[in-house]
Symmetry: C2
Subunit: 251 residues, 2 copies
Amino acid sequence: MSVPRYEVIGVEGIGEVRPGDDVAGLIVDAAAQQRTPLATGDVVVISQKIVSKSEGRLVRLTDVTPSPAALSMAAHLDRDPRLVEVILRESRRIVRMDRGILISETHHGWVCANAGVDQSNVDREAVALLPEDPDRSARMLRERLRERAGGDVAVIVADTFGRPWREGLTNIAIGVSGIAPLQSYLGQRDPAGRELQATILAVADEVAGAAELVMGKLARIPVALVRGLDLPAGEHGSKPLLRDPARDLFR
Amino acid sequence: MSVPRYEVIGVEGIGEVRPGDDVAGLIVDAAAQQRTPLATGDVVVISQKIVSKSEGRLVRLTDVTPSPAALSMAAHLDRDPRLVEVILRESRRIVRMDRGILISETHHGWVCANAGVDQSNVDREAVALLPEDPDRSARMLRERLRERAGGDVAVIVADTFGRPWREGLTNIAIGVSGIAPLQSYLGQRDPAGRELQATILAVADEVAGAAELVMGKLARIPVALVRGLDLPAGEHGSKPLLRDPARDLFR
């Protein structure tokens, strides 16, 4: 049996992405340019930021009028009230609001700081929102990558989220197409014959994290190819990663 | 400039590990046997399970007498009182206890289910505890790997933990030697000239997750080599990953 191994390849040279840009085309061209063309079986991990920009998910803060609630919360948090207004619009529930930190549940169901609204890497007065439907974005990018590259790849749209108890952000999957985001060992037996319990791995998040290690925030590498993993297919996008609130001890 | 890329290589053939075994020697031999010998700069990710076993961190449930508190909690959780007793001994604080789930803070400060006490992959009546000091384990393994392999590698001792809000476990770092577990972009500027905020990546966790993708739970691959990453050195082990309780909104 061959040694289990895989490779992660950063895709450079994609450049600044603007609303309406064909991100899939940019990826295919940049990967070919650096002589690592896309190949069937690759998982293409794409930073949420360029997906959001290409979809025009940008808001100019100068166009935002904060509500009284946003003004009050912004004073408490010592944040820009226009930014707080945008975060509230992107949220369906506030999870924590303290010490300048605003953690909310987005309309998609993701729990993260600032509802994923991001000021960095965008021009000074604009903020980027998460894609409206990151699974749809992943599906459409996957189809377009297949058209342009001729091979079947999977796509993960990824963003860096914090988490309780541990310092540091990790890159995780917010949109998925072509793989199952969870891999389950339930019902299999360990070498002692005992049925393994609760062994479900969030492989899409691990793939997103693996990709981040070549992406970096300032290296201008918003895409990585993860090559050589044989992950099971799946048709439910990122949804299996969302914990059912009824099962969540940390609402 | 060359394309940023790295590789993850599973190390097969390590076999069952027993108390007193020389894990570093087993890794060096198994990696050489499959013709992927360790190389300077590798990050060697090692499953906590084999580290704990080699260190004799095993408890036989038949030797455990549950305290009255363990008996009461076990009834509430519908779990084995002897196992609950072991978990309580490994914990300094209970974080959540509900619906059969016991989440605690270990004496190291990690927050996880069952204080990291694990029944799978060990013989039927034994449970494995986390290493007493996973950073010390990582340091000693690193030294021993250097002696045996002749090159300087980094070591991550990793375990699979759950997290709030998202389904699925991910592999994360509980012991680190030779790299800084966090990589900070604080103070750098994005292309628009704005100072980036709060951009600290938990690279050790991302590396652990990347390794898990070739490890698997039943594939008997407890070690992976992560090759080609150039991560900054660090001398504080895994400690920077522990969030200061004073800064934690999710105590």
